[in-house]
């Protein structure tokens, strides 16, 4: 960070200013003039929080995608199908057992197993042939989408959060001022806060594993120079399998989260595949911090756009992507290959 400040002093000042303004907008009670210009503060805060929690969901899905691509150069365009499948399975499990939490480990295991099969049967046969991998996974996603349509039909499902998580919670953030001068505080769905915290914990845990353990060392070395790692006698196939299973399992868990936040229906698979594509393009391929940053930016852009310019909200996302591509084709935190 200090390095960045030293190299780009002007940009750091601009970033710091923007961050300060946003923090002030979130924390301070708004003066009346601002409320007239930008609407109620509660709406703005809701957009920000929805953006951050949506970013957490995108992060869960995009990390798996970016890890698999970064380490193995495997292009898994069926990643969105794994997301949707995880969601449907999570719905079935939590409906059948009544335990929302139980769905997470079970779905993670099932989808990770599917990922292992995929890696072993499909990707190992066409190592290094990115185009063919793309085509095959597109074909797989078409087939999987139709099978899921066959089983679960065209209607949309919502996974109900358990009793102790449903309902709003009060956050220590001022959302407005009453006429009597009392502050009212922001109320926000509890389950989203919990999932946001879980995603942050997950992200930190992944950072620790990647940067502080031997497995993480192997993975990072594999991302940077695969040939060298293979040459030094590491059983890289096992690392591949583990990472692929982990990434696929994350997508499956993302499905449960997505089904709890929003809903599951046919077409969500491509939506989340595209979201993770855009996130990793913006953040930088193969970089976990990049995925976090990209997910945050895209989630915020989507939700703020939805509130303040509903017609163009999708376009914002892609304008961001185009701008990043135009100035930094390798992504914000990506390394030049």
């Amino acid at each position: 960070m200090q390095d960045y400040v030293r190299r780009h002093p002007i940009w750091s000042v601009i970033i710091a200013l923007v961050a300060a303004v946003i923090l002030w907008l979130i924390l301070a009670p708004w003066p009346p003039g601002l409320e007239e210009a930008m609407g109620r503060k509660r709406i703005f805060l809701n957009a920000i929080f929805s953006g951050i929690t949506l970013g957490a969901l995108y992060f869960l899905i995009a990390t798996g995608f970016t890890l698999i691509f970064g380490l193995m150069r495997n292009v898994n365009l069926a990643h969105g199908s794994l997301y949707l499948l995880g969601g449907y399975l999570g719905f079935e499990i939590s409906e059948a057992t009544g335990w929302w939490l139980l769905a997470f480990p079970l779905v993670f295991l099932i989808v990770a197993l599917i990922g292992v099969v995929l890696q072993h049967q499909v990707f190992r046969r066409m190592e290094g042939e990115e185009l063919r991998q793309t085509m095959v996974t597109i074909g797989l996603s078409v087939v999987l989408a139709d099978i899921m349509l066959w089983i679960w039909g065209g209607q949309s499902y919502t996974i109900l959060a358990p009793q102790w998580l449903s309902g709003p919670m009060e956050l220590p953030i001022i959302s407005g001022v009453d006429r009597s001068g009392e502050y009212s505080y922001l109320r926000y769905p509890q389950v989203r806060i919990v999932i946001l915290i879980a995603a942050i914990v997950m992200g930190i845990a992944m950072w620790v594993v990647l940067n502080r353990t031997k497995l993480g060392m192997l993975i990072r070395a594999g991302v940077d120079d695969r040939e060298m790692l293979t040459a030094s006698g590491i059983r890289i196939q096992y690392v591949f399998l583990a990472v692929f299973a982990f990434g696929a399992g994350l997508a499956g868990i993302g499905g449960i989260v997505g089904g709890t936040f929003q809903s599951l229906s046919p077409g969500e698979d491509t939506r989340f595949l595209l979201a993770s594509l855009v996130v990793v393009i913006v953040g930088g391929m193969g970089s976990i911090p990049g995925a976090a940053l990209g997910a945050l930016i895209i989630g915020l852009a989507e939700q703020i756009g939805l509130v303040y310019a509903p017609t163009y909200s999708v376009v914002f996302t892609f304008l961001i992507m185009a701008a990043v591509l135009a100035f930094r084709p390798q992504g914000l935190l990506g390394s030049r290959r």
Partner: protein
Amino acid sequence: MAVIEHAARGGLAPAWFERIPPAWWVVGFVMLLMPAFANSFWLFQVFGWTFILGIIALSLMFLAGYGGMVSLVQMTVAGVGGYMVAILGPSGVETISLGLAWWLYIPLAIIIAAVFGTVVGALAVRTEGIYTIMITLAIAAAFFYFARQNYVIFNGYTGFNLILPPQLFGIDWRQPVPFYYLSLGCAVLAYAAVVYVSRSPFGLALQGVRDNPRRMAALGFNVTAHRIAAYAFASVLASIGGILLVWQNAQISPGTVGIPAVIDILVIAVVGGLRRPIGPFIGALIYILLRTFTPDILSSFGLSTERFKLLIGLGFLAVVFFSPDGVLGLWDRWRARMRRRDPLTGREAE
């Protein structure tokens, strides 16, 4: 290549029509005389669709086969062309459509779509391989969502209806026989254009760029400019296909350019084969035949008629899994096996 071989063998070079293989003459005559023995369903629904999707897939084949750039945005470019015809020309939505004359809105639609495709191409050529696919897919999705949400220009979810081709020379071009000839003519022109361009200096340079961009750059070719120009040419083809598509449907809506439609074009081009410009048309014919007749086949086996996508997907999966060159690749391999030569004597083996 053929020209050089003939010259090397000596003797008179045969006239251009002598070099066309007999099979092509047969196909040509059958295509021209089709209305004499096919009913209007075959003309309009089967062959009309084949030519239209074939043209759009051809523009993808040109980029992928000669340029080495797999672009998923070609259906979107076609959609832009179609939308422009609906917006600039007459349509059922009179509040938006401008109702310009046909000689104005058709070229304008092609130009606007080509500019759109070229701008996307300029963005996409900054990246390579899989990144190009991702970025073009993302742009295609952006256009789909934008068209669905924008009511001022694109009329949102409903789109446009009653978009009919102009009544030129007193002919209703949407009747099956005239439309068949119109789409056939466009398909032949597009095919000929791709063949011509691929043998022109530009096309040869483009293939050089595909095979070794660094060497071509070292030779003084502007790699980026060649790639963007390829996008521009492919966009013109795609926009022609898009205009025909709108006339065929008489309507356009965001679903026309949705992700499934984008993937379909890739499926068509890959199943047909990306090596030669005839591939996309073969792929389109297979796709259309499957789409038209699988419901009957599936229901005769007692299955739900809705599993057409599953069949297409499995077929596509099988093709890309076993033959990356598509049906044409299978055909080539089969022919090569038929006349395998003995490597020592040079004679044909059993």
